[in-house]
């Protein structure tokens, strides 16, 4: 049996490389994955920027980390400061923040399925051939013909629903992305009857799309690709910090905090979270809890292969995301696989949209939405919440009324982490192991596994690029100079 290296399977410039080793079956074009590596290819030193700044800056600056889930960073940061300030949010603030974050979840889930995941299963040749929707791989098992055309038709509907969800968030969030309304103590937006009505009208349209198009499409996909209910299981452990507080103390949540480790449901103690760095480009200590974390880059570290650290709970690998949340909350326990992740994500969108309609009714125009307090001189705070793609935590330490230390663990650090000091692979690396690949020249099976995790990396260098032709660049320079 020969081993072939496929890689990088996924290349996000400056973000994430995933490659896989495949044992080739004799006389065949295919084989099975025997090992995979997930590498974050860029240093994220964003936390250092916060040191020495006013704690009130944190929700605004941390939202800039990510263009896909800025709202979740705003939520995590506000919550971390509230825990440091001992200042719970107002009830109106809590509800509006849930509505803004909920809108972000809905638009993210819809876009993830129709813009990324579904295209792994549809041969869009002749339907959608323009980049970036040009099919990257074409496999014999892909959906073609009228079913494919119907699904592609839903893509345009999905774009409309995504816009409506975005507009909902902007009703209370003001400016999106990077809403200025998330503050410790609540939400600075005002509740008005017009806003409640506008939000409700859009929500009912988005909910109708989710219930009548998105969920049925995922169900159809799951029935056409039954093998993906067993492919891509991975570590089998799930972790959720929980999200959408139903009271200002945060004790009750729409989606509960918890974990599922070695087949048993259990509680989460944040002090049991540590980050390993043996295989990450950091010279700072390994196995540290983020409250005392350190992030010293070491680009030439021997043996390291990722800029992502390896977060673990009680030294164990855990997967985060919609499936983890829905499983721990008892809403979905059909299985852990590629298709279960897609299904849980769609059903979660349905659940959140339904809950949002109820929260909207609890808002009372004119009530105070936030309260302000000066930052404490010395304090520590912890903000655990969820982004659409999984558990997100912010740890803050305040000294002399300014931020002394800030540490963030993103959902994709959990899912796309490298090996840890105990030589355990990260969740995506484990999910790729054993996946059958029919044709190593078209490894669509591996892309389906990676996409099911909805990876999201620090919005790093995303500068637009010119076509690179020197003559064209010179012309553009001259045009700017007015020559």
């Amino acid at each position: 049996m020969a081993t072939m290296k496929i890689g990088p399977l996924t290349r996000i410039e400056g973000h994430l490389d995933i490659d896989a080793d495949i044992d080739i079956l004799a006389g065949s074009t295919g084989g099975k994955v025997v090992g995979a590596r997930s590498s974050g290819t860029m240093f994220r030193g964003f936390e250092a920027i916060l040191k020495g700044r006013d704690p009130y800056d944190a929700p605004h600056l941390t939202q800039r980390i990510c263009g896909v889930c800025p709202v979740a960073h705003g939520m995590a940061s506000s919550t971390a400061l509230e825990s440091a300030f001992k200042l719970p949010p107002t009830d109106s603030g809590r509800i509006m923040r849930n509505l803004i974050l909920g809108s972000n979840f809905l638009q993210s889930h819809i876009l993830h399925f129709y813009h990324l995941a579904a295209l792994d299963y549809i041969d869009t040749t002749g339907i959608l051939e323009r980049a970036p929707w040009k099919p990257r791989y074409v496999a014999p098992d892909m959906i073609r013909g009228t079913t494919a055309e119907t699904l592609v038709g839903h893509y345009v509907q999905a774009l409309t629903a995504r816009r409506q969800a975005h507009q909902m968030g902007a009703i209370f969030g003001g400016k999106l992305p990077t809403t200025p309304v998330f503050v410790p103590g609540g939400c600075t937006a005002e509740v008005t009857a017009t806003r409640i009505a506008d939000f409700g009208a859009l929500l009912s349209q988005v909910a109708s799309f989710i219930n009548n198009v998105y969920v049925p499409d995922v169900e159809a996909l799951a029935s056409l690709f039954p093998e993906y209910k067993t492919i891509g299981r991975g570590c089998g452990n799930l972790l959720a910090y929980g999200v959408f507080d139903l009271d200002v103390a945060g004790t009750r949540k729409l989606l509960a905090r918890g974990r599922y480790t070695n087949g048993t449901l259990d509680t989460v103690d944040p002090t049991k979270i540590t980050e390993y760095v043996k295989y990450s480009y950091y010279s700072s200590g390994s196995n540290l809890n983020p409250a005392n974390g350190a992030t010293t880059p070491a680009a030439r570290k021997t043996g390291a292969y990722s800029w992502i650290k390896a977060p673990r709970y009680l030294s164990k690998v855990h997967e985060v995301g919609s499936l983890a949340r829905m499983w721990i909350n008892g809403d979905y326990r059909a299985g852990i696989s590629v298709m279960d992740r897609q299904m849980a994500r769609a059903l979660e969108a349905k659940k959140i949209a339904q809950a949002m309609a109820g929260w909207l009714k609890q808002l009372v125009p004119g009530r105070s939405t936030w309260r302000k307090t000066p930052p404490p001189v010395n304090a520590v705070g912890l903000g655990l919440t969820e982004a659409a793609r999984g558990a997100l935590g912010h740890w803050v330490r305040i000294n002399n009324s300014v931020i002394d230390q800030y540490q963030i663990i993103t959902p994709t650090a959990w899912n796309a982490s490298p090996l840890d000091d105990l030589n355990q692979n990260g969740a995506i690396e484990q999910a790729l192991r054993g996946v059958p690949v029919a044709n190593t020249a078209q490894p669509i099976e591996l892309l389906r596994v990676v996409h099911s995790f909805d990876p999201c990396l620090a919005c790093s260098v995303h500068a637009i690029r010119t076509r690179g032709d020197e003559e064209a660049t010179n012309r553009a320079l001259l045009r700017a100079a007015g020559i």
């Binding site: 996924t10 290349r11 996000i12 410039e13 973000h15 994430l16 030193g45 250092a48 920027i49 009130y56 800056d57 605004h60 600056l61 800039r64 990510c66 263009g67 896909v68 638009q107 876009l111 993830h112 813009h115 990324l116 323009r130 980049a131 970036p132 040009k134 990257r136 791989y137 345009v156 774009l159 816009r163 975005h166 507009q167 902007a170 009703i171 003001g174 400016k175 999106l176 992305p177 990077t178 200025p180 892309l447 909805d454 990876p455 999201c456 919005c459 260098v461 995303h462 500068a463 637009i464 690029r465 010119t466 076509r467 690179g468 064209a472 660049t473 553009a476 320079l477 700017a480 100079a481």
Partner: protein, 176 residues
Amino acid sequence: MTPILVLGIGNILLRDEGVGVRVIERLAGEPLPPNVEVIDGGTAGADLVDLIANRRRLIVVDAVQAGAAPGAVLRLRPEDLIPDETGLVSLHQVGLLESLDMAARLGCAPEDVRIFGVQPGDLSPGLALSAEVAAAVPRVVALVMEELSNLNREIPNDASIVARGLARTVPSPASR
């Protein structure tokens, strides 16, 4: 919603990557015609669709990898940019070109798009621009103002000609 939008995009946490946002912060202090809106789009991906929808004219300011000297200013059109053909893995790959394409599919694409690109030098974590790129900011501001005064003659000052949108412009407290 105004018929003309100036949109700055980029990540201010990576120094020169945020030059588009820095230009917007300056422009917000300039005397702008009433048919012009300036928006800090930050690191937005697909959210850009909602900002650009139904505009008559769109002027984008962003960092651009053009192989030029740091601080060089380029005047571009969307067709000058490279689409991402590597296959989408993350929603992070949805950027300006993909958002323009989505807007076109939804029938709300801007009629005319112009881009001012600035070649970045320093993309390390931090808030301050490199000296070369900081020096380019007033030049880009002047170029955008000149472009706006030309466009302003072409575009009537009547916001009712475009569909009512829900996107709002509120300056972010981080914009400083």
